[in-house]
């Protein structure tokens, strides 16, 4: 495995089913210890990408590599490098959790002694140690998610691909799952996580990829995505009191675009506006506020919200679809 460079990388990855293009020139890269949030509406091409990465599907063109190994040409090697948790659990009847994990450990070729130790370790890591003697089919959804995570960790893969790991979990389990994923990243595992619970994803991801109709629409950190999606930034001015809000709006008016809407939020002592002006011009706006002796406590850019970014992409995709 190369010591530097991305652990997971796709270059111009394309998958066609007849004339239908499921994936169109997707290029992403995830470094060691990073978590990539992979989001998109249903049918966007997320599962197709994941299936190519885990060796269950072949790309029509382009390449996908894990630790430098081609996913299509060396699917067997890939299986040892990746841990994959699909959105379905895949249980076997009449098997206890310990037996279930022991089987997958044996399937991955772990030695008998190592396996016994490893099963206990991964159950502990996933917070599922007390489920070992329970029948798999009797587990609740949240318990199954934990066992599924334990299963993906059994062979100590370098990268994990988790399809909807937080789906159906209660708030406490979701928080615990979040901690678990961050812990795995801290241990040097590279993760690709898909989820529809965007605030949850925003909290753990180093990078995000938004995909619609098989095309990558936005990719990078949340701030980068915000800039990619819109030239407009949201600026927030906080005052020490709500009495001066109207005067602050008046002072800011000449410094923003005509179309831009300046809104006062008395409950938060805040004024917000959206603008495409560069930092130098915004510095002039701040100077004007200070010059007018307004009690400014903060003048800052509001971070783009992942939900907002996703909705922007989805809306532009709908518009493009309608035009087509």
């Amino acid at each position: 495995m190369p010591s530097d460079g991305p652990v997971i990388e796709t270059r111009n990855l394309t998958k066609k089913y007849g004339s239908f293009v499921a994936l169109d020139s997707l290029s992403i890269a995830v470094d060691k210890g990073q978590i990539l949030g992979f989001i998109g509406p249903n049918g966007a091409g997320k599962t197709t990408t994941i299936k190519i990465l885990v060796g269950l599907s072949r790309p029509t063109s382009g390449t996908a590599t894990v630790a430098g190994i081609d996913c299509a040409k060396d699917a067997r090697k890939i299986k040892r490098l990746l841990g994959y948790m699909p959105d379905t659990f895949g249980s076997y009847d009449n098997m206890r959790v310990g037996e279930y994990l022991d089987f997958f450990g044996a399937a991955y070729g772990l030695g008998r002694r190592d396996r016994v130790k490893r099963v206990d370790e991964v159950l502990e890591t996933a917070g599922a140690g007390k489920f070992k003697d329970l029948f798999v089919e009797s587990l609740s959804h949240g318990m199954k998610q934990r066992v599924a995570i334990a299963r993906t960790l059994l062979h100590d893969p370098v990268a994990l691909i988790l399809d909807e790991p937080a789906n159906g979990l209660d708030p406490q389990a979701r928080i615990e799952m979040r901690g678990l994923l961050l812990d795995l990243a801290a241990r040097g595992k590279t993760l690709i996580v898909t989820s529809h619970i965007l605030p949850e994803l925003a909290r753990i991801c180093d990078r995000c990829a938004i995909i619609t109709r098989g095309k990558l629409r936005a990719y990078g950190t949340l701030a980068e995505i915000g800039r990619q999606l819109s030239q407009m930034r949201t600026i927030e001015v906080l005052l020490a009191t709500d009495r001066e809000l109207d005067r602050a709006v008046e002072v800011l008016r000449p410094h923003v675009e005509e179309k831009s809407e300046l809104t006062a939020h008395p409950a938060e002592y805040a004024v917000r506006f959206r603008t495409a002006k560069p930092d130098e011009e915004l510095a002039g706006a701040l100077a004007a506020l200070v010059g007018a002796k307004l009690p400014v406590t903060q003048f800052r850019e509001v971070q783009t919200d992942l939900e907002e970014a996703f909705m922007t992409v989805a809306r532009s995709d709908d518009d493009a679809g309608a035009k087509a």
């Binding site: 299936k51 299986k79 994959y84 009847d93 206890r96 044996a106 008998r112």
Partner: protein
């Protein structure tokens, strides 16, 4: 109209498979009649020929109902529960009774349509004359209709209590076969004796549809001895089967009215966590202790094979051992009985009974063991996980097939003491026994590969099991019906040619069972069955490789 009937019957009828099934059945019945239709102006006034056709036809339909009907109701409720749609149905304004009637109506409706397709052929037999033995063709349909009701209600009850589709299927097939055969045993043992129990046994016997169909087809006296009264089986069966069916219908509705989804599976106390006394007791009296923490899988054993043993309810070690023990006891019991002269049978009849016992077990249990090998994995989403492991397709397939081979091999070995006993009584039987054992071995391999092929071909275990049963029953039991039609319409050479493809016929012929003694089927039958098995194995390998390849 009940929306469940609309979904389960009308939508099924629109599928090409349903249309193909109806056409195939109609064509098969028409061919059967055409074979016997008088070619010249001479008609068979006695009606013997039409009765022969009706017999082949009637037993074929009964076998079809016993082996095909259970597959669909057996998975009907349990599949809804697994998919989560049972919760939606129970939460809808539909009552448990209407849900049940919908399920029952769907299965009965489709079976009724299939039976209706065969009516013109049966009517032709009636028109040829001679088929009014016990009320005519109409009674055949009444009996088959009631049998369908009886089997469907039993299967739906099992389905309402089962937690997995393959458990429901295996249990249902086991119960249906027990229902068809076990009630015959007490009457068969007691007949000819002046005993009060005989009346009870005569009623009990009529719980099975077999005596009623035999009476309709003029075979009421077949297999009887002494002065037993075998009449009235049809009426008794109709009454008993309706009572039986209604009881199971009530039990299923009660189950649906209760809380069918409110159940958890307790892990129980693990043996290792029990007291020392309890651990010693369990070690002494349990062949395989299901509560003992399993040891880690050894690396030299195929993990897929061990997984199959651990995850199957029926095929788990303790059940397999019980079945094998039962087979060994039955096998030895039959031989001991013959040896002591308690039963005035010959060695050939004992040998035939042994072959039939093994064949029944093989034909019944092999599809239950092998038809879900791949389809169950695909149905519950674990096939994707298996594909993700570094296990090669060959290793997966080997493990799956070995998990069927071992129980079948042990089953075959369980009856070997019986054959050894026969050889001790009559040493010259040695070569004959070897031929029987080889034929039975081939039957087992063939049944396993047919079932495995169905498992690769179909996505759901219910359809795969039904298809495997259809193929095996058609080939191993359907072709045996040709023996009934020997000399009319088929000649000996035709019957022999038909039986050449049947491994069971070869085993019966090798055992020199009465009725099969005259046919010279070995070694041609071995080549045919061996060749077919090789082709099936190749198909299974190619198909499994294709299923595990990247899309």
């Amino acid at each position: 109209m009940n929306p469940i009937i609309r979904r389960e019957l009308l939508e099924l009828l629109r599928t090409p498979k349903a249309i193909a099934a109806q056409i195939a059945l109609a064509v098969a019945c028409a061919l059967l009649v055409l074979l016997r239709w008088p070619a010249s102006g001479v008609s068979d006034l006695g009606g013997a020929r039409s009765l022969q056709v009706l017999r082949v036809f009637g037993y074929g339909l009964l076998a079809g109902i016993l082996f095909l009907v259970p597959a669909f109701p057996a998975t009907s409720i349990v599949r809804e529960r697994i998919k989560g749609t049972l919760a939606l149905l129970l939460n809808s304004p539909m009552t448990p009774l209407s849900i049940y009637l919908g399920k029952l109506g769907g299965t009965l409706g489709f079976t009724a349509i299939l039976l209706a397709v065969t009516v013109p052929a049966a009517a032709a037999c009636y028109a040829l004359g001679g088929s009014s033995t016990s009320g005519g063709v109409a009674w055949l349909y009444v009996v088959l209709g009631v049998a369908t009701f009886q089997i469907t209600t039993l299967a739906l009850w099992i389905s309402s209590r089962a937690t997995s589709t393959d458990f429901a299927l295996r249990t249902t097939y086991g119960c249906v076969l027990a229902l068809a055969l076990l009630p015959l045993a007490p009457y068969w043992a007691l007949q000819g004796e002046a005993s009060d129990l005989l009346d009870v046994a005569a009623w009990l016997r009529c719980l099975s549809p077999v005596p009623a169909v035999m009476e309709v087809l003029g075979h009421a006296a077949v297999g009887t001895h002494g002065l037993g009264d075998t009449g009235g089986a049809i009426g008794k069966f109709v009454v008993l089967a309706l009572v039986f069916g209604l009881a199971f219908a009530w039990a299923t509705v009660a189950q649906l009215r209760g809380r069918p989804l409110d159940r958890s599976r307790a892990a129980g106390v693990m043996t290792q966590d029990r007291s020392t006394g309890s651990q010693i007791f369990r070690r002494l009296f349990f062949l395989v202790d299901p509560q003992r923490r399993s040891a880690s899988m050894p690396l030299f054993v195929n993990p897929v094979m061990l997984k199959e043993f651990r995850s199957r309810k029926f095929g788990r070690g303790h059940w397999t051992l019980r079945l094998i023990a039962l087979s060994a006891i039955l096998s030895l019991g039959l031989c001991t009985a013959a040896a002591e002269g308690a039963i005035g049978w010959g060695i050939e009849i004992i040998g035939g009974a042994l072959v039939l016992l093994q064949t029944a077990i093989l034909i019944l249990f092999t599809p239950s063991l092998a038809a879900g090998l791949i389809s169950t994995e695909r149905e519950n989403g674990s096939w994707q996980l298996l594909r993700m492991t570094p296990l090669s397709t060959g290793k997966i397939l080997r493990g799956k097939l070995l998990s069927v081979v071992w129980p079948l091999l042990l089953l075959l070995c369980a009856t070997l003491p019986g054959y050894v006993f026969l050889m001790t009584i009559k040493p010259e039987l040695g070569p004959q026994v070897v031929r029987v054992v080889v034929s039975l071995g081939l039957t087992a391999v063939f049944a396993m590969l047919v079932s495995a092929a169905a498992s690769c071909l179909f996505r759901t275990t219910a359809v795969a099991t039904a298809a495997a049963n259809l193929a095996l029953v058609g080939l191993c039991i359907g072709t045996l019906l040709a023996v009934i039609a020997r000399d009319a319409p088929f000649g000996k050479s035709t019957v022999e040619a038909i039986l050449t493809v049947n491994p069971v016929a070869a085993a019966l012929s090798a055992a020199e069972t009465p009725g099969f003694k005259d046919y010279d089927l070995i070694p041609l039958n071995w080549y045919v069955v061996g060749g077919a098995s090789a082709v099936l194995l190749l198909f299974v390998m190619v198909r499994t490789r294709r299923l595990s390849r990247p899309d």
